[in-house]
Amino acid sequence: MSARPIRVLIAKPGLDGHDRGAKVVARALRDAGMEVIYTGIRQTPEMIVDAALQEDVDVIGLSILSGAHMDLFPRIVELAKQKGMDDVLFVCGGIIPDEDIPTLKQMGFTGAFGPGASTQELAKFIQAQIAQKRARVQA
């Protein structure tokens, strides 16, 4: 029985409508062998967590450009925990100021990938993190 492909939800919380980056990331992760569920723009935290729950994903990737990340991201992490998703990996991208990254890491975001980040690096990062998690579950 081989390991299942890594399942990733890519979502855009908040009100900015620019999803080129999210789509590029979705495509890159697909090409890296992952199953990527793209849910589109203007998603509320509830919509994102419901989708992640139903799709039983390993990773939630959030892209945001509006600057509302410090309001929306904690809400999403909190909701996911409330609904029992305590093993999901959070990554984010878009426009995230450097000074917010330590706080986001504390919240549970393992990685932040802004403009200029390589999609291959992102894929490798996710693969390594999930491999670690899966090894821990088996141990």
């Binding site: 492909p5 090409d31 062998g33 199953e35 990527v36 569920i37 729950l53 139903q54 799709e55 029992g84």
Partner: protein
């Protein structure tokens, strides 16, 4: 395990999602899950929605689900998109068109990648239908991959199969070919506000009329709809329900069910026999021999079986 089965039956999203992951993994997990849930299945009305890429399947499923929700029925949806044969990855984009349903606790949507299965469904779609059925969803809709001409597996699993066409998809020779049009219990010409919609509907009607009439046989109605504007949806639901009634009245459900079990049994046997024949060994050496013209494929297959 028992605890999680109770939670699946109560329709708890996390438990249902996990159970679908278990049947997708296959092996012992799938066995245990199906083993515990099977006796609770058999209540759902299973509707298949198929058609070419871009015909409007996801949008139609979205509109149908909203219609069923207004009646109070709980709706489970499985949407299938292709896995890349090159990377094993998949972009599952059907949910994107079903955002209206987001936040409704009476709807459960799961995107499935084909993971190598042909025929228009994912390799565990059968089993996932059981999970949703046992979880108490009265309506289970399955959206196939964008189907070409021979992705007809859905007809084996659904009670009623809806084939969606978009205007201008082809001439009457296309319509006369064997395959996807033959499995339609209901035919929908979507995007009916487009110019060629009437012509497409006429070609489909003509194709149906060429079929020899057999007494008491179901004739698929050809319906026009604009899924995006939710027009023509009530008529499609009515037709699907008439079809279900027809199956009941003519006592055809038992035969359909048996065809479904036969297909499912064959599917599982194929997987198990293949696993047994390969026994974890790679086929590379045989492929090399075939490529070097030392053996043909039949000889190689025999050799693998004997090994």
């Amino acid at each position: 395990m028992l605890d999680s089965i109770e939670r699946v039956r109560a329709g708890e999203p996390r438990a249902v999602a996990r159970a679908i992951s278990a049947v997708e993994r296959g092996g012992a997990d799938a066995r245990a899950t199906i083993g515990a849930l099977y006796r609770f299945t058999g209540k759902a009305f299973i509707i298949g929605v198929t058609g070419a890429p871009g015909a409007g399947k996801s949008t139609l499923v979205n509109a149908l689900a909203k219609f069923f929700r207004r009646r109070g029925a709980r709706v489970g949806i499985l949407t299938v998109d292709p896995t890349s044969p090159f990377t094993g990855g998949a972009l599952l984009g059907d949910r994107f068109r079903m955002q209206d349903l987001s936040g409704d606790a009476g709807v459960f949507i799961r995107s499935m990648a084909t993971r190598g299965a042909l025929g228009g469904l994912a390799s565990a779609t059968f089993e996932a239908i059981h999970v949703l059925d046992a979880a108490g969803f009265e309506i289970v809709m399955i959206e196939t991959v964008g189907a070409g001409q021979s992705e007809v597996d859905i007809a084996k699993h659904a009670h009623t199969t809806i084939v969606v066409e978009a205007p201008g998809m082809g001439d009457d020779i296309q319509a006369n070919k064997a395959g996807i049009l033959e499995i339609a219990d209901v035919l929908v010409v979507n995007k009916a506000d487009r110019e060629e919609a009437n012509a497409t509907a006429a070609v489909l009607e003509m194709n149906l009329n060429l079929k020899p009439r057999i007494e008491n046989e179901w004739r698929a109605p050809v319906l026009k709809a604009i899924a995006l504007k939710e027009q023509g949806i009530a008529e499609i639901v009515a037709a699907a329900e008439q079809h279900r009634e027809y199956l009941r009245a003519h006592n055809l459900l038992p035969a359909r069910e048996r065809a479904r079990w036969r297909a499912e049994l064959e599917n599982i046997l194929q997987k198990q026999l293949l696993a047994r024949a390969l026994n974890g060994k790679p086929l590379d050496a045989w492929v090399e021999k075939i490529a070097a013209r030392e053996m043909d494929v039949y000889q190689a297959a025999d050799a693998v079986m004997e090994e």
